[in-house]
Structures are given as C-alpha cells and as structure tokens.
C-alpha cells in the first residue's frame, strides 16, 4: 500500500517551522516600530537568530523532501493539483529568500549577524545605506507576500478538510492519523 501520510520528520518540520514563522512575522512587525532601547536591540538579535534557525530548518526540510516524495494527492481537478504544487514551490522559495534578505539587510545596515552571539555569519555585502533601506523594503514585502500565501494555504487545507472531506489536512497532522 503506498504511503498516504507524510513522514513524521516532514510533519515535525512543517509545524515547527509554521510556529517559528508566525512568531518571526509577529515579532518582526512589532519590533521595527519600537523606539530605540536595549530591549529593542535584544529583540532584533533574537529575531535574527530565530530567522537564521528558520533558514537552517528549511534547508534540512528541503533535503528531506528531495529524498522523501510526499504522498500523492487525492483525486481532484487538475488545476487544483497545479495550484497546490505552485503554492508549495512559492512557499519554499519565500522561506529561503526571506531569511536571506534579512541577513543581507543586516550586513548592508552595518550590523553583522552573529548567531546566538557566538557564530558570526559572513557579511556578503558591504555597509551601504541605500542598499540597506532597499533590502528592508524587500524583506517586508516578501513577508507580506508570505503572509498572504500562508492564509491561502491555510484556507485551502481547511476547505479540503471541511468541505471536500478528504485526508489532505489530516495526513500532515501528527494526530488524527486514521480519522479519514
């Protein structure tokens, strides 16, 4: 019988990253409007460290994904399959370039990223105010894009679960394994 569920590794990575990304997004929005204070500097550092963690996780996740094809989708119109695949590609793309844009932005703004204060990431670009401001806009815009996609992704999962009543959502859940 072909696998109808995602592997446990894929499930854990999916939900871990979902939590991390929602957290990063919320903290990112909150922190950028704070007046300068030691607290703000701390939050920025934590945001950067968590963002680098998300970047590492997505690389692990992609490596795993290449070796473990997800179960085939249940019967549905071709355009829906195409939309689902397109969406998943876009999500992966954003999960890679958002942290990259944050890392480059930090370098361009002259604040090197030192992972947990221990591991310095190289500055791939020199300090440059214009580039820093541009990358901040890029980082923010990509994030709004990701947020919109996540809402659609979440909506589609709910639609499958509640209206189509197929196993598209439950096969990504650690529980509800045999519920449908």
């Amino acid at each position: 019988m072909p696998d109808t569920r995602y592997t446990l590794t894929a499930i854990v990575l999916h939900w871990l990253m979902a939590l991390l990304l929602v957290g990063l997004f919320t903290v990112g929005l909150y922190m950028s409007d704070l007046p300068l204070s030691p607290q703000k500097l701390k939050i920025y550092s934590w945001h950067k460290w968590a963002g680098v963690t998300a970047f590492t996780l997505v690389l692990i996740r992609l490596t795993w994904r290449i070796g473990h094809r997800p179960p085939a989708l249940p019967a549905m119109p071709g355009w829906q399959k195409a939309a689902a695949h397109g969406m998943h590609h876009l999500l992966y793309l954003l999960m890679i370039i958002i942290p990259l844009s944050g890392w480059l932005m930090s370098s361009a703004k002259g604040f090197q990223t030192v992972y947990f204060g221990v591991l310095p990431l190289p500055d791939l670009v020199h300090k440059n105010k214009e580039l820093g401001d541009l990358l901040k806009t890029v980082h923010a815009s990509l994030n709004y894009g990701l947020a919109a996609l996540v809402v659609a992704h979440f909506g589609a999962a709910l639609k499958h679960h509640l209206l189509d009543r197929d196993d598209v959502l439950s096969r990504m859940l650690p529980f509800l394994a045999g519920s449908r």
């Binding site: 500097l41 990223t113 030192v114």
Partner: protein
Amino acid sequence: MITLRLILAALAFAAAASVSAVEYNQFLADKSTLSFVSRQMGVAIDGRFRKFVATLAFDPARPTAARARLDLDLASIDAGSQDADDEVVGKPWFNLKAFPTASFVSSAIRPLGGDKFELAGKLTIKGKTQEISAPFTFRQDGSNAAFDGAFTLKRLDFGVGDGVWSDVSTVANEVQIKFHIVAAPVAARK
C-alpha cells in the same frame, strides 16, 4: 624669575641639542581619522567622529617634550546608524546640549623603543575626566608624520549611556578608540 631663566636656558639648550629638529605641529584634518568600535549584543559596530582638531608638537628626537591635545565635536558622530546617531545626542548618552565637546590633553609621552611610544593624559567627556594612556606608533608619511594608536575606555566611567543603557550586556561598557593623526612639519629649527 630664576625659574623662568632656567626654563629658557633649558629650552635653548634643548633646541641646540636636537639634531633632527623637525617638529610636526600642523594638524592635517583631511588626512586624520578618529574612529571607534562599540559592541552591541556582542557584535562590533564601527563608528567615527567627523570633526575634531588636534593641537600637537612632536619632535621624534625629543619625544618626551612632545605635547598633544584633541578637541572633538561630539555632534559630528557617526555611531553606525541613523537611529544610533539620534540616540546618542540625548541626556543618557552625551547630553550634547550641556556637553557639546570632548577633549584630551596629554600629560606625558614616553618612548617605548623603535617607533613606538606611549601617550598619557586626561580625557574629558560629559564633564568627567579620567586618566588614560594609549600606545601609538610614529611613522614618516612623505614629509608628514602619521601617529596611529588605540586604547579602550569604559563608557560608564564617563556616564555615557546611563539609565536603561547602563545594562552592559546590550551595549558593552568597553569602547575601543582608534586614532590616526597626520601632521605636517613647520619651519624646522636649526
């Protein structure tokens, strides 16, 4: 009067005795830099002062007679970002309204051998004065002299960044100051 005569005699003697007799005393602002490295959450941030004036007299043949003074315009700071530049103006940091400048006045210069020397003196920031000393090197740069040195100060010794900012786990207490002073010689004495 006796002392004045003695001093004059000593000066005359010193002037006659000095062989090289090149005194570097014309500060070249365009060629000089005053920079610093602060640490934020463990990350080094480069900064600098754009406006400062050094008043100096240095004759490599008579280093112990040398003098130096530095006056800097704190408003000319580049602390690494616009946010930081705006922040350091305020009371917890430099309190620029009350203390627009900082100064250093040398008290002694000591040869350490070769082209190395040690500079000691009083540094005044935000109305607080501390003794500091810094090793520096002297180098001939064409017809000019270049003096390069660095030292580390503790910002809280000067009350710079107090209140919430006195938490040194966010912005480190230690700030490294690096100077590169270039001066031209003026009318060598014979």
